[in-house]
């Protein structure tokens, strides 16, 4: 198995509340893993630990076999971890296209030296970036909105932009935090298609979702978390066959 991302015994507590308790799991290239569980189970916290927003009290995180636990946030993204946010977190005063243009792994736009001394190479790079961004927008059906302010878009489309922005990171790992919440219709189908395509291209994808049909449709396997611990991993059918888990999740 071509393991892209793995964690080993991650532990994190906030003043008595344990959000991650001995979390060990991995995602391989081409896999789409569903991360499910009740609210407060620690799913988003796990994403935060992996992407570097919070540091674990104990445990390791590996990307392609190399430990990334010591890397600050921005370096983990450059190493290849792309993620979306539950609350989208787009750059509100910018257009859709502008949101994408600051999102690639290596971005010459963030260097003032390249701005001043980059010359022709800099301009060409910016042009390539623009093409790439437009390509992703086209792929997601967002091309007509490219010059619109993100705040002008309906919520569902904003979520699409969030995913598009994450796709600008062409790294091996994609973490999607509740991409379907508040989304329906064509946006729903678009995201499903995109996720399949990315996995097919060799990415390791992990999706936090409450939308069970999405999980059933898409995920090769799932991980059930509660109280910061992984209760069970397996196929979606196996998980939902476990009465204890469905009781925990649905209360029935």
């Amino acid at each position: 198995m071509n393991e892209i991302l793995s964690t080993q015994g991650l532990y994190k507590s906030f003043g008595g509340i344990v959000v991650a308790d001995n979390v060990t799991f991995s995602i391989a290239a081409g896999e789409i893993i569903g991360l499910i569980g009740p609210n407060g189970a620690g799913k988003t916290s796990l994403f935060n630990l992996i992407s570097g927003v919070i540091t674990p009290d104990a445990g390791e995180i590996f990307l392609r076999g190399l430990p990334i636990g010591d890397l600050p946030l921005h370096r983990r993204a450059r190493a290849g971890i792309a993620r979306t946010w539950q609350h989208v977190r787009l750059f509100k005063t910018m257009t859709v296209l502008e949101n994408l243009l600051v999102a690639p792994r290596e971005c010459s736009g963030e260097s003032v030296f390249k701005l001043l001394f980059g010359g022709g190479a800099y301009r060409r790079e910016q042009a390539t970036l623009r093409d790439r961004a437009n390509g992703i927008l086209a792929r997601m059906g967002l091309a007509p909105m490219a010059e619109r302010l993100v705040t002008e878009l309906p919520f569902g489309q904003q979520k699409l932009v969030g995913v598009a922005r994450a796709l600008m990171n062409d790294g091996p790992c994609l973490l999607l935090d509740e991409p379907m919440a508040g989304v329906e219709g064509t946006a729903y189908e678009t995201i499903k298609t995109i996720v399949r395509e990315e996995a097919a291209a060799g990415r390791a994808v992990c999706v936090v979702e409450h939308n069970i049909s999405f999980i059933k449709d898409l995920c090769s396997s799932a991980v059930f978390m509660a109280n910061g611990r992984i209760m069970q991993t397996g196929t979606v059918a196996e998980l939902f066959g476990n009465k204890f888990l469905t009781q925990l999740y649905f209360g029935t």
Binding site: G52, F91, M94, E98, V102, S108, G109, L115, M168
Partner: protein
């Protein structure tokens, strides 16, 4: 006539200070009141190079700019490691401390000030040259800042302002951007300082105290943070309006405080009536 020219020189200097301060605060979101200190560093450096080493005017002003730019890291590096809010307090301390040091060192002339700055040109030529130079400097600085903001780098800055966590999670080095913006803004303040030193030919620590800082700060806030034109308007308005009563020929003991009251009252009014600034743009920088 001399009065008009010196007002123009002053406007040029203040617009440069406002615009560069706006880059730091409005665009970069870094709240610091140490800007006048870099203005002072630029002024003193230029003066000292001129007096002690006979360096020609353009080079000593450039030296002032470089020293201001470089020393900005002494404040930004330690302070930003703590938090963005902490920068304000650290900058207060930095400002107070450096003014004290200037007051107590001999080679800076101490509290008595630094005079004997070699004069460039004389008479009306001098006035015209400095007015043109100062306004030219302001124009160039405003244009440079504008083009930075409109570049991809400016987009990065805006994104950082909008949501820093999301920004950093994309792979961007926000700390580096903040340090650079702070340095560029401070460098321009140093540039203005050099021009100031050569025009007024006399520097003293009182000119750079904490209240001067607040003055520049208010020009930026009243003018409108984040917009290019805002601080320009704010600078001109807040400089000119209090001056408007000079023609009333009141005794200085009334004139001084009255001008101060007009200035502060204007700021308070604008702060509450038009908090977004005189010139605000819906999208921060375009």
């Amino acid at each position: 006539m001399h009065y008009i020219y010196s007002l123009l020189v002053l406007i040029g200097i203040y617009v440069t200070l406002s615009a560069s301060f706006n880059l730091i605060i409005g665009n970069g979101g870094l709240i610091s009141i140490a800007h006048p200190i870099f203005f002072a560093l630029g002024a003193y450096t230029a003066a000292l190079f001129a007096i002690n080493f006979g360096v020609p005017v353009l080079f000593s002003i450039a030296a002032g700019m470089i020293v201001a730019l470089g020393s900005s890291f002494a404040l930004s590096l330690p302070a930003l490691r703590i938090s963005g809010d902490y920068l304000l307090i650290a900058s207060i301390g930095f400002q107070l401390g450096l003014v004290q040091i200037i007051k107590n060192l001999d080679f800076t002339g101490g509290a008595g000030g630094l005079g004997n700055i070699p004069s460039v040109l004389s008479g009306e030529t001098r006035d015209i040259a400095f007015a043109v130079g100062s306004l030219g400097m302001a124009l160039v600085v405003v244009l440079i800042i504008r083009s930075i903001i409109r570049s991809p780098y400016g987009s990065a800055i805006t994104a950082m302002r909008d949501d820093e966590l999301a920004f950093v999670s994309l792979g961007r080095n926000a700390m580096a951007i903040k340090l650079v913006i702070f340095a560029i803004g401070s460098g321009f303040a140093g540039l203005a300082g050099g021009v100031y030193a050569y025009y007024y030919l006399y520097l003293s620590p009182d000119q750079f105290e904490i209240l001067q800082s607040a003055t520049i700060l208010t020009m930026v806030v009243v003018g409108g943070m984040g917009s290019t034109l805002g601080p320009v308007v704010g600078g001109i308005l807040l400089l000119a309006l209090p001056q408007a009563i000079t023609f009333l020929q009141l005794p200085p003991s009334i004139m001084g405080p009255l001008q101060g009251m007009i200035f502060t009252l204007l700021v308070l009014v604008f702060l509450f009536v038009r908090p977004q600034g005189l010139i605000s743009t819906k999208r921060l920088h375009r």
